[in-house]
């Protein structure tokens, strides 16, 4: 099984300049989402103390942030190679074979995520067509929020595809390294 705690230093050491930019963007984004959840979550707790009214919008808003964390966090977990998996056999394979197997599982996961992005587009289209005027909270329409799904799944599919390509390259490169004198 993979260990959910990533070692950032190790991850930083092997990443490309583009990868490093993506990681930094993610760091800022996740900090904004989490601090946003804290601010939005504090409002009803404080409001309840001073006013007798309950507010309807903070809770659904912070629940939307949970969805973004789920989808974007899964993308970051792909990059950090820390998805939860059973992984009972790859420990016993050679490094080259292991990279090959990982390329396969990442490829299939990318296809699945791509399919989910595709199904989501249809879902968003239906929501925009049949429930166009539904208000989720404040002036935010329900269907705007569903856009998180196609965007999130498409990005996840992209991350998985990149991981697959990296694995393929690793499995090829290691063949060369193994042939070289140590």
């Amino acid at each position: 099984m993979t260990m959910p705690t990533s070692e950032p230093s190790q991850e930083e050491a092997t990443e490309s300049p583009l990868g490093s930019w993506i990681r930094r963007i993610e760091e800022v984004l996740f900090a904004i989402i989490l601090i946003g959840m804290m601010v939005v979550g504090l409002i009803p707790v404080l409001a309840r103390r001073f006013f007798p009214v309950g507010l309807a919008w903070p809770d659904p808003l912070s629940r939307q942030m949970v969805l973004w964390i789920a989808l974007l966090g899964a993308g970051a977990a792909t990059q950090a190679r820390s998805h939860i998996a059973v992984d009972a056999v790859t420990h016993f394979l050679s490094r080259r074979a292991r990279s090959g197997v990982r390329a396969l599982t990442h490829f299939l996961s990318a296809v699945l995520s791509g399919a989910f992005a595709w199904f989501s587009v249809a879902f968003v289209r239906d929501m925009a067509e049949f429930e166009a005027d539904n208000i989720a909270f404040l002036c935010v329409r329900e269907w705007w929020l569903t856009l998180a799904l196609p965007i999130g799944f498409a990005l996840l599919a992209l991350r998985l595809a990149i991981a697959c390509i990296q694995d393929v390259r690793k499995s090829i490169r290691k063949t060369v390294e193994e042939g070289e004198p140590a």
């Binding site: 959840m37 707790v45 949970v66 966090g73 998996a85 996961s109």
Partner: protein, 421 residues
């Protein structure tokens, strides 16, 4: 599902396909075979944005990651040592209590072993506990705190099963204390028999340690008081705790510079995003399984073989121990709970009691040879061969299994704390 497709999906899981993708694939295959529109999968997944209490997961996760990255583990250790170090086997007791505490706040994901192991292993060895004992104690202590608030696995169990999270925390209190106590008593016995050195109780050191931890001491009071006292909902407690930890560690202690918040936020997102996406896929998959009456069929299958509640519980224990050492506690919760909940209800097992059995079982699964996750984390952290860790962990696992037996077969240990009992 046809056996061939089931086998193919199982092979994908075993060769390390991320679990969310394994579950997503099963969901898609099931919907396709049942000729349901694939949009339905998305609609089920979208429930992630409407389930109550889920905000607590990333927020408590953030508090845990932030605490682990600060000097809070050192301060926690100093304080535990000042309070408990004078006991026979004092250092062992300190280790158990500090680990339980940190695990409750970080979720049982090995963070405790990573954060405290490096401090505690040399301290235990210096006091003469022996490497074998120390390794076993540390590896097992890494998962025993997970019944206490604000443990993430308990919250996830509540979300998945629909059982009140407050009730779960109440019911888990005594079983959690028993797990801690049995390890602490073993440590005391070990220290007493070997006449290991104890530290002198010093009021001055205690005062120093208390002063050192002055900004962190209110945190458990806030969380425990808020949850047990009933004046904060779980998701609100998560908000308050995250804000409090953020202020304490960045502004008051200044342990964590503000520029480290990005990497810590990303670490939190990786940890909780990985759990949440599995939960989303599980929502799609289990709704299908319930529609297809899989729990009903499982129950019929079980009823033919198990005649009593007792037999059911024995089988449940064995099954969950197997599950617990093969898959992560979060994945196990979203996958297994919806299936066993209705069966347990048929056998008259209280859903809250089932939660306590389930989580205790999986906590022990973390350290059960041959494949418990914490054993692997410990081999990396302590640079020891896995076989040595098996032997080290074994006596501790046996003790925890005895507690598991008590918790499972004496329901009143969990249920007495619920209102109305």
């Amino acid at each position: 599902m046809s056996p061939a497709i089931m086998l193919a999906i199982l092979v994908l899981a075993v060769i390390g396909m991320p679990l969310f993708a394994v579950m997503g694939t099963s969901a898609v295959v099931n919907f396709w075979r049942a000729e349901i529109d694939f949009q339905a999968v998305i609609i089920e997944f979208y429930q992630l944005a409407s389930k109550p209490m889920l905000q607590a997961l990333p927020l408590f996760g953030f508090s845990g990651c932030l605490l682990a990255q600060s000097k809070a583990p050192q301060r926690l250790l100093r304080l535990s040592k000042a309070i408990l170090g004078w006991l026979p086997g004092g250092m062992a007791v300190v280790c158990v209590v500090a680990c339980a505490f940190l695990t409750a706040f970080t979720g049982a994901s090995g963070i405790t072993i990573v954060a405290l192991g490096g401090l505690l292993l040399p301290a235990l060895e210096k006091d003469g506990y022996g490497r074998q004992f120390s390794l076993g104690l540390l590896t097992t202590s890494g998962s025993i705190g997970l019944l206490f608030p604000p443990s993430l696995p308990v919250i996830l169990y509540g979300v998945v099963s629909g059982v009140s999270i407050d009730a779960l925390f109440r019911a888990g209190l005594l079983p959690g204390v028993l797990l801690v106590a049995v390890l602490a008593l073993y440590g005391i016995w070990w220290g007493w028999r070997r006449k290991l050195p104890r530290s002198q109780f010093s009021v001055r050191e205690l005062r120093g340690a208390l002063w050192d931890a002055r900004y962190e001491i209110p945190l458990p009071l806030l969380v425990l008081g808020g949850i047990y006292g009933g004046w904060l909902a779980i998701s609100e407690a998560a908000v308050v705790a995250a804000v409090y930890v953020l202020i304490a560690e960045t502004l008051l202690y200044r342990d964590v510079p503000l520029r480290r918040l990005g990497p810590i936020a990303r670490e939190t997102a990786i940890l909780t995003g990985g759990i949440l996406i599995i939960l989303g896929m599980a929502l799609a998959l289990t709704n299908y399984m319930i529609d297809a009456d899989v729990p009903g069929q499982l129950f019929e299958f079980a009823q033919g073989r198990m005649t009593s509640r007792f037999a059911f519980l024995v089988l449940l224990n064995l099954f969950l121990l197997g599950v617990g050492c093969m898959i992560d506690i979060y994945a196990a919760t979203v996958l297994v709970v919806p299936l066993i909940l209705p069966i347990a209800a048929e056998f008259g097992v209280h859903p809250t009691h089932l939660g306590v059995i389930f989580l205790t079982n999986l906590a022990i699964g973390y350290v059960t040879p041959p494949v418990g996750l914490n054993l692997f984390i410990a081999t990396i952290r302590f640079r020891e061969p896995i076989l040595k860790l098996y032997w080290s962990a074994l006596p501790f696992v046996v003790l925890l299994l005895i507690v598991l037996g008590c918790v499972t077969y004496i329901p009143v240990l969990s249920l007495f704390a619920l209102p109305g009992n």
